[in-house]
Symmetry: C2
Subunit: 90 residues, 2 copies
DNA sequence: AAGTTATTTAGTTAATTATCTAATTATCTA
DNA sequence: TAGATAATTAGATAATTAACTAAATAACTT
């Protein structure tokens, strides 16, 4: 859970997720959207992958990244739980 | 928005939010739950306050902290948007 | 097989962050 | 008002993180 929050705490990584929302992309295509070196983007992708927020699949010479939407639900649940419920005066 | 994600990216701060979910607490009461110095907790509270995740109110000698639930909704919305919608092949 | 392209790994550096101790400010009580 | 308690601010240090360049790996093309 901490890994996920840490991964989400960087604006570049959130932008990457925003890009992938629109469709799958190769590592290179993702890097092209940023003014950051490819190795740095590679590192960000790794962090997102470790947090299970994205998946990667090798397609020949390319590596295609895509969103893994399942983990988001856990974060949403935590947030709803901490913010929404438990506030009723019993 | 970045401030909020950064604030949520620390386990101690998330624990503080979990505590406040159950009810308001003074800075000292919060610090008592942790093995960390009071100044460190004070710093964490400051970060949570800057992110508008908590509010503080001076009650005499004490400062009472409480959850500010409104900001959580923005984070939830972002997460739902990035994970849920936009995946339909149009 | 030699060269080119895509991506990652390794190693380094600079910036940020979490923590600590010590000192300060403010409030309460005897 | 003097002493005790609550919380913060200040300043220092250690750990983490984001970024870079250079090198390595893997797959495609001619």
């Amino acid at each position: 859970m901490n890994t996920v929050f840490k991964a989400l705490a960087d604006p570049t990584r959130r932008q990457i997720l925003d890009l992938l929302k629109k469709g799958d992309l190769t590592a290179g295509e993702i890097a092209d959207h940023f003014d950051i070196s490819k190795p740095s983007i590679s590192n960000h992708l790794n962090i997102l992958k470790s947090a299970d927020l994205v998946m990667s699949e090798k397609k020949g010479q390319y590596i295609v990244y895509s969103l893994n939407t399942t983990v988001f639900q856990d974060v949403i649940t935590w947030l709803i739980n901490v913010s929404g419920k438990g506030n009723e005066t019993p």
